[in-house]
């Protein structure tokens, strides 16, 4: 009896243990390799490592990645490798890919000439049909494409027409200075592959698709990595690097250690992380580039209606201290004084800059007849920069007798709150990356606009936006936006704090970063220029 019992226990434990080790071993099931194959694999890896660029990314692109609906950073970075757009529209101008130039006579119809020497990676020729197909699918309401609102307007839809095999024209329903920008960054998908696809997120072609980009996806392991191999027939020249791997690492501490140990070659870091890394000892280098982001403090005009009080708040703040506290070194940020990023062509500093002036601030408060002011500040608790700002602002405003009540929230919860016009915050932090043209900022600054969280009502601002939109003369537009920037500063609901850079930390064995060009969102404008030098 005694024996029997112990035997049962033993058998049970053993069974569990065996299943454990069995599962443990069967993990590698897809390959049952013999010794020689293993050796082969090892040497191959060394060779692989020598021509593989591994980039640590913080999100899983997923098998649903496609040119129509995908809009997150890492999805788009994946798409940028596999596909090409007609052209990219960046702060420094147009960068041509599948198209070579455009012309317009009436600022309504834009005619683009396409390259005639491009083939899809399966050998099929690239033609205007693919372009028409992609833009048409983007305009279909049921596809919910990311660029839908750039092509479909209340006044009508942008008409796409094939002129000949290598010429396409786009006709806007109204004259807009942002037309070219609205057509940019849309990646062209192969009509011959996707023509019968109805659901762009779920089909068998995503991530193993045929493209015109510098790389092709060859292997995707959910939660682990996406592996790309170079596209030998890439129309701008065969990429120098054979393999490119997007390694998915969601924990930033792990990513940094992996970067230091050489397991990954590149990682997008924040300044406090760069500060911790011993760059020299680990053969690393940093590259800092602007994404045109603006980080700001906003005043909810509904809750703080007095312009003088708002100006008093701004005069009490010290922008430099805020930036130094969160971005450590000046190479990691620019200081903006208007709603536009300093990298914008239309950026102007002929505005009220609100340099810190405690006396002025006190005087304004006195004029407004306000004492014992208490303000509620909302910010994202997980954002290190915002948390640092919150404490500093509390301190700086205390000097002029304003009490700040800090309210740390989840970042999405906060933006959902800001979206509610009845929210009880007086101040909040946020940040945006909008388009290149100042008109793309109108959804944030026009009175009553969908994303205007300041809830003000200033018809002058709306009129200036409308004027800038209607004007096609470059110099005249510059004047309008200069006035607009000054006006928005005057009403004192928006206090730009920073235009912080993205920082890419790269292993020095990876070269050609300048040629590949660092750009917002996609990291590299053209990965085919990257080189590996051991």
């Amino acid at each position: 009896m005694k024996r029997g019992f112990l035997k049962q226990i033993l058998a049970l434990t053993l069974a569990v243990a065996l299943t454990g080790s069995f599962v443990g071993c069967s993990g590698k099931d897809p390959v049952v390799e013999n010794a020689s194959a293993v050796e082969g694999a090892v040497t191959e890896t060394d060779a692989d490592k020598a021509n593989t660029f591994t980039y640590a990314i913080s999100g899983d692109p997923g098998e649903s990645t496609n040119v129509i609906t995908s809009s997150s950073r890492w999805d788009l970075s994946t798409i940028k490798l596999i596909y090409s757009p007609l052209f990219m529209f960046n702060a420094d101008g147009i960068n041509w890919f599948l198209a070579t130039d455009y012309e317009t006579e009436d600022n309504l119809t834009y005619t683009f000439h396409l390259r005639d020497d491009v083939t899809w990676s399966d050998g099929e020729p690239f033609t205007a049909d693919d372009v028409v197909f992609t833009y048409t699918e983007m305009e279909k309401e049921e596809n919910l494409g990311w660029a839908y609102s750039q092509l479909v307007y209340e006044q009508g839809t942008v008409a796409i027409e094939k002129v000949d095999d290598y010429t396409v024209s786009f006709t806007f329903p109204f004259v807009t200075p942002t037309a070219v920008e609205m057509l940019s960054q849309i990646f062209i998908m192969p009509e011959h592959i996707y023509k019968d696809v109805e659901d762009y997120e779920h089909n068998e072609y995503n991530l193993n698709s045929v493209g015109t980009g510098p790389f092709q996806a060859v292997e995707y392991v959910p939660g682990s990595y996406v592996k790309f191999r170079r596209n030998e027939s890439y129309f701008l020249g065969t990429p120098a690097i054979e393999n490119l791997v997007f390694r998915i690492i969601e924990n930033s501490d792990t990513a940094i250690l992996a970067l230091e140990s050489g397991e990954v070659d590149a990682y997008q870091a924040i300044p406090s992380e760069v500060d911790k890394i011993d760059l020299e000892a680990n053969n690393l280098e940093t590259y800092s580039y602007s994404e045109g982001r603006v980080g700001y403090l906003m005043v909810n005009a509904k809750n703080v209606p007095d312009q003088k009080v708002r100006q008093a708040i701004f005069f009490a703040l010290n922008k430099d201290d805020l930036n130094k506290a969160s971005y450590l070194s000046e190479e990691f940020y620019l200081t903006p004084y208007t709603f536009l990023p300093p990298s914008s062509r239309f950026y102007s500093e002929e505005v009220e800059k609100y340099e810190q002036n405690v006396e002025q601030s006190k005087k304004l408060l006195e004029e407004a007849g306000v004492t014992d002011l208490t303000l509620k500040l909302g910010y994202s608790g997980s954002d290190t920069a915002q948390s640092a700002w919150a404490l500093l602002i509390q301190q700086q405003l205390a000097e002029v007798g304003i009490t700040v009540e800090l309210d740390a929230a989840d970042s999405t919860a906060l933006s959902a709150q800001m979206h509610d016009s009845e929210n009880d915050y007086d101040l909040y932090f946020g940040g945006y990356i909008m388009g290149i043209d100042p008109d793309t900022f109108s959804s944030l600054f026009e009175s009553g606009a969908a994303y205007n969280y300041m809830y003000y009502d200033y018809p002058e601002i709306d009129e200036l936006f409308a004027a800038g939109r209607a004007e096609t003369d470059e110099a005249a537009r510059e004047e309008i936006y200069k006035e607009l920037q000054a006006k928005i500063q005057d009403v004192a609901t928006f206090y730009p704090i920073t235009s912080n850079n993205k920082i890419l930390v790269v292993n020095k064995r990876i070269q050609g970063i300048e040629d590949a060009t660092l750009v917002p969102v996609y990291t590299f404008e053209d990965t085919s220029y990257l080189k590996i030098e051991e």
Partner: protein
């Protein structure tokens, strides 16, 4: 016995339904949803509205719940809202990875705990007990992510003998490569599962040792060793078996933090990401899965208990 098991399973169904209703309700009470997390000022309000409509956010909560439930019952796990992937495919590729990590760790921790716990309990108050017990206290209070970072720092960065990340080197499919990736998270998890079990075994050993039958054995002149391994051990193992069943849900959600730190492609990082993005279809499926396992685990414990303990078996019959 079969009848008993069947009855328990049927009893579990309303409980499961209640859990799903509660989870669904709590997620909907959150101050934002998955669409808010995706919205950028570049999207026109019309587009945002269209996306909302596509995912059914415009209908009342009970309609959404019903739709979700019907889908689940038809074996349709649904799609992630944030990146549109099929949840079923995602889980099929991730759950085995988690099991492969958790199961060996748990078994190791379990066996080590039995041995260490018995030794500590038998030597209550002596040096050996103090060492084991303080080890358990310390390891119980040390967070796993810290242990994980420490091991990564030592073995992955300082000594550079083990890889830091993931389950395999990209493109390499060998057993050695897998084991090299496996060893660190395995060690961390074993360390995490160990203290709870040690303490459990230790305290039940102490309880057993103070019972009358031990005194009787002593009076008969049995040696300590004999008492411990032939008499006390089997009584101690009884309650331990219940812990085995209760560990079942750990197979899915037992290593969330460790997996995230090591970039192990299991359920953990997937779940964390879904919670951050309020991706409710994923959260719901994982919650249903783990709560099912909790219920099944409890059932398993009871059944195992019946099998090994003749006293309970007698009552059931």
């Amino acid at each position: 016995m079969t009848k008993y098991i069947l009855r328990r399973v049927i009893q579990a169904i309303p409980l499961l339904l209640l859990i799903t209703v509660l989870c669904f309700l709590l997620i909907s009470l959150a101050p934002y949803d998955a669409i808010d997390a995706m919205t950028t000022p570049k999207m026109s309000p019309e587009l945002v509205n269209m996306i909302r409509e596509k995912y059914g956010y415009n209908s009342p909560i009970y309609v959404r719940y019903w739709r979700w439930l019907v889908g689940l019952l038809n074996g349709n796990f649904g799609y992630s809202i944030v990146n549109g992937t099929s949840i079923y495919n995602d889980l099929v590729s991730r759950i085995p990875n988690t099991i492969r990590l958790v199961l060996p760790s748990y078994v190791t921790a379990y066996m080590l705990a039995i041995v260490l716990g018995l030794i500590a309990g038998a030597n209550k108050g002596k040096v050996l007990d103090r060492i084991i017990d303080s080890f358990a206290s310390v390891s119980l209070s040390v967070p796993t992510f810290w242990v994980a970072m420490l091991l990564i720092y030592i073995f992955g960065y300082r000594l550079r003998v083990l890889p830091i990340l993931g389950m395999r080197t990209v493109g390499v499919n060998t057993l050695t490569d897998y084991l090299r990736h496996f060893i660190l998270p395995y060690a961390v998890l074993t360390f995490a599962f160990l203290p709870g079990n040690i303490r459990y075994v230790r305290s039940s050993t102490i309880t057993e040792l103070s019972k009358d039958y031990v005194m009787v054995q002593r009076a008969f002149g049995a040696s300590n060793r004999e008492i411990l391994f032939s008499h006390v051990c089997k009584n101690v193992l009884l309650p331990i078996i219940t812990r085995l069943g209760m560990a079942l849900p750990a197979l899915v959600t037992g290593a969330v933090i460790t997996e995230s730190v090591f970039g192990w492609p299991g359920v953990g990082p997937y779940f964390v990401k879904a919670v951050q993005g309020m991706d409710y279809p994923i959260i719901m499926v994982i919650l249903v899965l783990s709560s099912t396992l909790v219920i099944l685990g409890n059932l398993l414990s009871d059944v195992l208990y019946c099998i090994v303990d003749p006293r309970i078996r007698g009552e059931e019959a």
